[in-house]
């Protein structure tokens, strides 16, 4: 009986190709949307947390102003003199890197590339977990004398030098020429889409003298010694800077000290909200797919009721008819679910590649959306049939 019923189901699917196709399509769209959204959301979250862990777990970022991001409220910048004060008074600070940033256009022969210059010290490489791929860091005299030398990020190297090794070459930055002494190992794109390798690094003095024209330091990256308390370092640093910036007890900080953990929390909670939002949109499309299926089923219910009447009239048992419709619904929903997952996998891999985020297979969401779509198919395919199969054959045949 099972075999015959399977045969009947497959015949019914083939006989109603258009209806079957639309049902499958509804499920494919729903499943694919959910799986793609969630997979990409997961990838983005992972990419952000990867980027943060590449910064090191014990990094403090110090910025003027109260909000996260540069150029916030009109709080004064830090000064070069703050560097030595921090180095000498915060004992748990292992590396203290001041950063003065400026966007510039770099030129090598006929090629040019707009990028960011970070004026800093060798501490910058240590604190930020940067490794030198070729060449070297700054020599002591270069830092002290503010020499025109730079260490280049991989993206800038590719844009200006293509396949060549730039160490020893001279590039033009604004109105001076600058020797490339080293190239950084690439870190890749950050979760927010900014390219960490798209920058060049120069000694702080060089940037201050030749590019910004003042003694300002726009931020600090400070790494805390292994084993020392990050929270204690944050407190000490805050006290020191309040004192140096002459903030009275009643006033708020006009700067902000953040540790990696906090940054990570801010960023991952943002991507999580984004993922949730995308998933909600996707869930709506799954629902729309479901409603589409319901529509198709309702439109065909008259014809199917008559079909059930015919089958009952020529001697089918109620349970045989029901089993046929159940198999039909399961086959269609299953095909739709599998096709949806296949489509989602292909699209997610391609999109993740294009967006430069990792592709992470999420078994749970694949299973969940598959089961949900199967349930929709079965509910809408099976329950109208159950009603019809309970009728007197003659009433099913007369249905209009």
């Amino acid at each position: 009986m099972l075999w015959n019923t399977l045969l009947l189901s497959l015949r019914a699917i083939r006989r109603n190709l258009m209806r079957s196709f639309l049902t499958v399509l509804g499920i494919v769209i729903g499943v694919a949307a959910v799986v793609i959204m969630v997979t990409l959301g997961n990838g983005a979250t992972r990419s952000v947390s990867d980027q943060i862990s590449s910064m090191g777990s014990n990094l403090l970022m110090v910025m003027p102003g109260q909000r996260f991001g540069p150029g916030s409220d009109a709080a004064p910048s830090f000064k070069s003199a703050d560097i030595d004060a921090i180095k000498s008074q915060i004992s748990s600070a292992e590396w203290v890197a001041p950063v003065a940033g400026k966007s510039v256009t770099t030129v090598y022969q006929s090629r040019n590339w707009p990028t960011m210059v970070s004026g800093t010290s060798n501490d910058y490489f240590h604190a930020g977990n940067w490794e030198i791929a070729s060449g070297r860091m700054f020599a002591e005299g270069e830092e002290r004398g503010g020499k025109a030398v730079c260490v280049m990020g991989e993206t800038v190297r590719k844009k200006l030098f293509g396949g060549q090794n730039p160490v020893g070459c001279e590039i033009r930055v604004k109105d001076f020429s600058c020797e490339v002494v080293g190239v950084l190992k690439p870190k890749g794109q950050s979760g927010m889409g900014s390219d960490q390798d798209d920058s060049i690094v120069m000694p702080l003095k060089t940037v201050q003298r030749r590019l910004t024209g003042n003694q300002d330091v726009s931020r600090f990256s400070i790494s805390v010694r292994k084993g020392a308390s990050v929270d204690a370092a944050t407190r000490q640093l805050t006290l020191l800077l309040r004192e140096r910036r002459k903030i009275s007890d009643s006033e708020e900080d006009d700067f902000r000290v953040m540790d990696t953990r906090q940054i990570a929390q801010t960023l991952t909670s943002t991507t999580k909200i984004l993922t949730m939002l995308l998933s909600a949109v996707a869930a709506v499309s799954l629902l729309v797919g479901g409603i589409g299926i319901m529509n198709i089923m309702l439109v065909s219910v008259t014809e199917r009721t008559r079909e059930i009447g015919i089958r009952l009239a020529i001697g089918a048992l109620e349970r045989e008819v029901l089993l046929q419709f159940l198999i039909e619904a399961v086959v269609l929903a299953g095909m739709g679910g599998l096709a949806g997952i296949a489509l989602a996998t292909g699209a997610s891999v391609a999109l993740a590649h294009a967006m430069n985020i990792p592709y992470l297979f999420d078994l749970k969401i694949n299973l969940l959306s598959f089961l949900f779509s199967a349930a929709i198919g079965v509910v809408f395919g099976f329950f109208p049939a159950r009603r019809a199969a309970g009728l007197n054959p003659i009433d099913a045949l007369r249905h209009e």
Partner: protein
Amino acid sequence: MSGSPLIRLSGVTKSYGRGHAEFQALKGIDLDIFSGDFVAVMGPSGSGKSTTMNILGCLDTPTSGSYQFQGVHVEQLERNQRALLRRHYLGFVFQGFNLLARTTALENVELPLIYRGEPAAARHQAARAALEQVGLKGWESHTPAELSGGQQQRVAIARAIVTRPEVLLADEPTGNLDTRTSHEIMELITSLNAKLGITVLMVTHEQDVASYARRVVHFVDGVVESDLRNGEGY
């Protein structure tokens, strides 16, 4: 006629609707049909012929009265047992064909055999033979939409006889056919009745179709008005 009848209707009524709208389509039908008989049912439109056929075919249930099939009270059987009765004993030709849409003639005719659990090869062979008997050789792979009304009618007849049922119930089997094809179909039904002993009940409006039968039952307004053996005269 001797022995107990194959089919016995006693006091069968059928009402549609309720309250004010209630309409009694059958007002007490008593009818005995013996195995091997060939009965034509006639009567004006709306007199209850199809209603009676549906009850005999176990497609509908009487409001009151009893229907015995080989001595078994059909009105007391449950759904599945009635389905099995349809499957194994009855072949039904509907007034409106009732073929599966977008399904080939062959598959339509095969359908009752599938529910009987016949193996595929036997099924195909029997279905082809039945289609050939109704003169549709070469039309096996056509769907109802690609067949004329008369051809659909013949597919419906093939589907009803392919199982070699005990009883063939046909509601105006020649209603859509021209005179020539009507007579071919009547020859076929007559030979099924004569050679295989299939009991035939057939609704018709046409006197010359009815003349193939051995017995003519006349319905008027939900009751049997006359019940005559052919040749006994009117």
